[in-house]
């Protein structure tokens, strides 16, 4: 935990300085998570502010120290989910995107340690964003938390408040959908 519970208790009592300290401690982590969840850097700060806004107005409901971080994660996931749902900028699974995706994949695998320019990063982000169009927003977030954020099943259990088996099933199905989309793109690429 990045802050002690005393600070949270002070923030619960309306201490603005304590709340500022909490935001400062978690800001970077939340910004990073949101960046990976929504893949649109221009909107990351807006969503992060929404997370801390929700935190501010629901902080008084927090009772136990150990649930703070999973709870903050849940707020982050919910804000990202709301954002993605609002945006509905689900890209069509286009052949052009997938070709680019394959190029990026080869690039990432062959030259992972080569110099990384912004343009290439942008293309990778767009490729993954496009690929994740094959699953729902909720599954996209779950996949991102597991595969990109690297959360364990135990951690995900705390965030989602569901049992491990249910999570495994859901993750498996989401990954299968993405794999199917990924495979069909490869087939098209091969035949084209």
């Amino acid at each position: 935990m990045l802050v002690d519970f005393g600070l949270i208790t002070r923030a619960q009592k309306g201490d603005a300085a304590a709340f500022n300290e909490i935001v400062t401690a978690y800001r970077k982590r939340i910004l990073g998570t949101i960046t990976r969840l929504i893949a649109r850097p221009e909107d990351v700060e807006d969503v992060a502010q929404e997370v801390f806004l929700r935190l501010y107005f629901s902080l008084d409901q927090l009772r136990k120290e150990e649930v703070f971080e999973p709870w903050l994660y849940r707020l982050t996931v919910n804000a990202a989910y709301d954002y993605l749902r609002k945006q509905r900028r689900r890209q069509e699974f286009r052949m052009s995107d997938l070709s680019e995706q394959q190029v990026m994949l080869a690039d990432a695998m062959a030259g992972g340690k080569a110099e990384q320019d912004d343009q290439r990063h942008k293309k990778v982000r767009e490729a993954v964003d496009s690929l994740l169009g094959a699953v729902s927003e909720a599954d996209r977030i779950l996949l991102m938390l597991k595969e990109v954020e690297g959360l364990s099943l135990k951690e995900l259990e705390k965030v989602y408040n569901v049992n491990e088996n249910a999570l495994k099933v859901r993750l498996f199905r989401a990954r299968q959908r993405v794999l199917k989309a990924f495979g069909s793109a490869e087939k098209k690429e091969g035949s084209g």
Partner: protein, 115 residues
């Protein structure tokens, strides 16, 4: 087929890895905190106005209930209605003019044609 699937799995993992690196961890802008507090204050203002309006409505409703209660409780107002029973009120309403409606019908048998 399985090897193909395994290959896809590996490729997907590599793509996720590349994505993680591509996203990086951005720094917050200088306006992050001021904007956050502006949003908090704006939400608080909205909540406060809503609460104030709700309180005003609740107060008005209580005042109206009290006024109606007092009006009904004060002796002298609507005394007729208060003191009369239903039967008494009905009897009073049956004025002499209205008696025709309740008197038995009489037939003039003299005018009846004989066989």
């Amino acid at each position: 087929m399985n090897s193909m699937r395994g290959n896809d799995d590996q490729n997907l993992d590599a793509l996720f890895g590349a994505y993680r690196a591509a996203c990086g961890t951005p720094d917050a802008s200088a306006n992050f905190m001021p904007e956050l507090w502006a949003r908090i204050e704006s939400r608080q203002t909205f909540t406060f106005s809503f609460r104030r309006m709700a309180n005003a409505f609740a107060t008005a409703a209580v005042a109206l209930s009290l006024a109606v209660g007092l009006y009904m409780a004060v002796p002298g107002t609507n005394q007729n209605l208060n003191n009369q029973s239903y039967i008494e009120a009905l009897a009073e309403a049956s004025t002499p003019d209205a008696q025709d409606f309740v008197n038995p019908i009489t037939l003039e048998l003299a005018d009846r044609p004989s066989r």
